[in-house]
Symmetry: C2
Subunit: 444 residues, 2 copies
Amino acid sequence: MQPSPSAVPPAPRAVAAVRYELLTLGDELLLGLTANGHLTFIGSQLGRRGALLQRNVTLTDEADAIAAQFRESWARADVVITTGGLGPTCDDRTRDAVAAVLGRRLVHDPAVEAAIEERFSRIGRKMTPNNLKQAQVFEGGEVLANANGTAPGLWVEQGGRVLVMLPGPPNELQPMFLGQVVPRLAARGLLRDREAYVQLRTAGIGESALETRLQPIFDRAGPGLSVAFCAHQGAVDLRLSSPVGSLDEAAVEAVAAECAGLLGDDVVSRGHDTLAKVCADLLRAQEKRLAVAETATGGLLAQAFTESCGACKFFAGGVVACTNDTQSQLLDIPECLLLQHGAASEEAAVAMATGASDTLGADYALAITGFAGAAETGRGGSPVGTIYVGLLTPGGVWAKKLSYPGPRGTIKARAVNAALDWLRRELLRVARGEVTPVRRAATM
Amino acid sequence: MQPSPSAVPPAPRAVAAVRYELLTLGDELLLGLTANGHLTFIGSQLGRRGALLQRNVTLTDEADAIAAQFRESWARADVVITTGGLGPTCDDRTRDAVAAVLGRRLVHDPAVEAAIEERFSRIGRKMTPNNLKQAQVFEGGEVLANANGTAPGLWVEQGGRVLVMLPGPPNELQPMFLGQVVPRLAARGLLRDREAYVQLRTAGIGESALETRLQPIFDRAGPGLSVAFCAHQGAVDLRLSSPVGSLDEAAVEAVAAECAGLLGDDVVSRGHDTLAKVCADLLRAQEKRLAVAETATGGLLAQAFTESCGACKFFAGGVVACTNDTQSQLLDIPECLLLQHGAASEEAAVAMATGASDTLGADYALAITGFAGAAETGRGGSPVGTIYVGLLTPGGVWAKKLSYPGPRGTIKARAVNAALDWLRRELLRVARGEVTPVRRAATM
């Protein structure tokens, strides 16, 4: 993603004007049985490369409705992407409906049939005849190979427009989109071949404070700079671009570098790395291990680290405690401490972090306790949304009290992000040699 | 949900023919920054009450696009529901765009203004003038009070059609939809006032095996019975209804009861209760406590219980272990056992369950270990997807080996469901007195 003066990107203005529509097919989406992850995935992948998806229509597997909606979208858009409806079962009618609107023949592709047969034989099963339907491809179109399933994707260009048909399972669609669709779109100038903006992820600073701090830099850059903020659960992404093209890539990069310099440790990452990913990378680089202990977030903090493969390198483990008993037993917390201060207190957060570090033999430890939901109110008079975070590092152990409004899920997500951000900042200080490790007398 | 012969439901056929369309507004959805949870929520709530959402269109906050799409949907549908675009900021243009298409005036509602002002004063802030926009309501329409935010919902009936406009935040939209929209729709015969089908959730039996076992019952019930299956991660929901009305509610209930009788413990719940909810209820009823220990699922098993408020009554806590060290330290597992059998083995699963129960003082314990992702392969030669579940009950402790295909997320979800289902079946056996508690010599 470093700017290269020799590689001239496609004019960003042209890409921003390309009209994309996404048709997601399936009653399971309309019945709310499955979340529409294709919208999230394809929308964000297009957005990153300079195109705003104009419209997403989710509709039933009914052939007439598919044909009518496709006709409308095809008349309006430059690129139409469909998902689902390419499988072998009789309710997969998308291919025929779309072919009729395009006035294009479907033909049997022996190579696709061979690939499907090969796939079946590899898992020791015989291909049933209904699978042959998946070898029907558009005459004059291209076939997008499916490494993770039987139904290939289809690519057709007609009348200056592009149609892309993708299989429904996310583990088939996503690699196909990134590996085969994005490069084809970029080669035709319909999508940028790199990120359309420079993104700085920040944490610990609100959207308006961020804007106020950076405004002098934006002013100096002039009106050609486009600035967008995107806030989510205590983190704010800053996106810099120059859609009218008056600033070249190097100039936008320079603005981003100036912002990053001013923000210092408030910058989590350049690009898309999450708080958890950045913490994991810092821990790996320092060859240190982390332990977590949580009550109010019920496993969400541990999940932040174990979602990715290979967490065992730096993640020692976690304890999800619910009651005072559990905390005492697992983490060697004196019961008198919990009785005196309460299980939701700064003292308890410190004891949890210390206990997790000692019990699990970790160099760093994070603890979260507090009240995330209505059932937990009343104890000690703290209102819902009161959260205590404990942090143990080689330099010491601390706790802080936080308070979040909103529903239970929001409180939990913000508590996890606040804890991760605190850990990240301390890891950065340690990496810079600003922290002198101390022997913790109490636990040695 | 018990059938009452005196209460005649609205004719189900009429409701199934009502055409619903949902317009979800917001660039954050099209850019993939936020998942479209409104589709999931509204789609499932309509589906449960006999209506299949016909179409969901997600589009930008651009006034012309909103007006054009609303005109199209309004011409086609009986009920149009919009979400988002009702807030105070300048990009909230939905209300004006829709009013123009309807040819209906927006008028200032003093009661709404007073409610907004009251809300601001309660949180100690002064209402800014842009908030007044939210007091603009349709002349002759109804206002849906918002207990959790400032923008009220709007309800308009015109030309035999219904328009419902809902605010975007889920914690505002969801109670408004259930408390005010559903009853209004039901009163007009546009939605059933109760579930449109009888649902039996099953676990531990595949879709085709389920169908084969129940087919004789379906055959006896005749062609008026509609049967639908919905499989998700090791659980299959069976939905019975009579859309053409040839079977009355009592007859469908009788079929469901016959199916439930034949399936026995394969039935998780009648309705919508999840595996975790059923386990929680059984544990509460038996006044027993559960502990969990997990490696491959990284906190997902603990999350299944802590997602709901009040888990502390029955959930003692959980341990998320990543390395052999952690397991040994937290759960008192002999290192020699892990060295001999591996941390992913039936022996380790038994030791984890026993250790979790002992350490946390719980009556029941679940343990999950194994290989969910590529980074974990190669150890001991087990392929990805090999999972070991351990279960400790008052009657003993066991482990079993399972194997799942698919991507990491699927393997984790299926492993958690398999563990929960095993616990549920044992809790049922204990509740029936089929299990004799034994003293576990090894751990006493």
